[in-house]
Symmetry: C2
Amino acid sequence: MAMQAKRAAKRRAALTRERILRTAIRLTDRDGIDSLSMRKLGHALGVEAMSLYNHVRNKVDLLDGMVDIVFSQIDLPSNGLDWRNAMRKRAVSARQALLRHPWAIGLMESRATPGPATLRHHDAVLGSLRKAGFSIDMAAHAYSILDGYIYGFTLTELTLPFSTSEGGAGVAEIAGNIMDGFRPGEYGYLAEMALDRARKPGYKYGDEFEFGLDLILDGIERVRA
Amino acid sequence: MAMQAKRAAKRRAALTRERILRTAIRLTDRDGIDSLSMRKLGHALGVEAMSLYNHVRNKVDLLDGMVDIVFSQIDLPSNGLDWRNAMRKRAVSARQALLRHPWAIGLMESRATPGPATLRHHDAVLGSLRKAGFSIDMAAHAYSILDGYIYGFTLTELTLPFSTSEGGAGVAEIAGNIMDGFRPGEYGYLAEMALDRARKPGYKYGDEFEFGLDLILDGIERVRA
DNA sequence: ACCTGAACACCGTTCAAGT
DNA sequence: ACCTGAACACCGTTCAAGT
C-alpha cells in the first residue's frame, strides 16, 4: 500500500526541466516571485530541493527558463498580415502574456542570457519588418520603440495601485486611497486626474494601451514614407 | 584610544533613514540588488542589522525609499519651457537616472506604495501638460505613452547583452557572443541586424531613444490638433 | 530613544552517500 | 543516472536586554 503510493508518486513525477519550469511558473503566478524558493518548488513537485539541481543549473538558470517560457507564449507576427497588423497583434499578445505572469518584467532587467524562445521571437519580429521592406535602420528604430512601449506600458500598468482589469470601482479607490492624508491642494493635478477617472464608470487604464500603440504605428508608417 | 575610536565612529554615524537609504543605493549600484541585505547594509554603516529597524519599517520599506530617491533625481518639467521641450528634457533625465541605478526598474513592478518624490513627479508632469492646455483625457494619453516608452526603452537597454555606453567594440561582441553555437541560418534576421550594427563604428543602442521619443512627441502634437 | 545578542524560521548550494 | 540527508554560510525579523 505504502509501496504502491510511492510507486504512483514516482510514476507521476518523472522530474524534467520542463515540468520544473511549469510548476515554478504556476507557483510564482500564485504567490509572487519573493515566495519562490528551491525548497518550496521541490516540495510542490514531491521531491527534495536538491533533486532540482539535476535538471537546472541553479536558481538563475531556473529564472532564465521561466522568462523564456513567457516569451514562448507571445504570438509570433503572422506572415499573412501586413506589417502593421502583424505588429499590432503581437503587441497585444505580448501585453497579455506579461500581465498573466506579472513577475516576468521585473526579472528581465537582470536576465543576461536570452533563451531560444526569446531569440526566436526577436528574429521573427525583425523578419516581419524586413520582409515588409523596412531597411535595417528602420527595423531597428521600429523594434526599439515598439518593444520599449510594450514593456514599459505593461510595467506601469502593473505598478498602478488599483487593479487595471476592474471597472470604475477599482479606479475610484485611487482617489480615496492615494489622496488620503495629503494636505489639500498638494498633488492637485494628480487628484484632478484620479477624480476624473473615478467618475468615468467604464474606465480601465489598460484601454490607454491601444491608443499609444496606434499613435506609434502611425508614426512609424509616416517616418517610413 | 579604543574609547576614542568608538566615540569617533559614533559621531560619524548618527544613523538616520536618509543615511541608510543613501548607503543602500550606493551598495546596490555597486553590487546589484541580489547582494543587498540588511546585515551587509548595517555593516557598511558600522552598525548591527537590527539597528536599521529603528529607522526603516522592514526591507520592503527600505526598497520603497530607495526607489523614491531615484524618482527625486529626475528633473521636474520646468515651467519656462513649452510642453514639448519640458517633456523631452524630463524623459532624457529619467532615462539617465534609471541607467544610473539599474536595479530601480526591476523593483518598480513590486512597489505598491509610491513615495512623496514619486507623487510630486507625477503631479508636476500632469501639471505641465494641463497648463499647456491638454484636456484631462489627452494628458492621460500623453503621460501613459511617454512613461511607458521611457521605462520600457530603458529596461530593454539594460537587458541588452552588451554595454550600451560603449562604441562599436561592445556592439561587435553581440555578433560573436550571441550567434556562437547557432545553426547557420537560424536567427538569420537577428544575425543580420547584429552584424550591421557591429559594422557601424559609432553605433550606440542608446541613440535609438531620442528617435522614438521624437516620434512619440510628434504623434502627441498631431493628435492634439 | 536607540542599539544589540541571541534566537527563529527560513534561504541557495555543495557534497558524500545512497539506489 | 537520479535522488537525498547533512552541512555550510547565509537571509529577514522578533524580542528581551542593555545603555
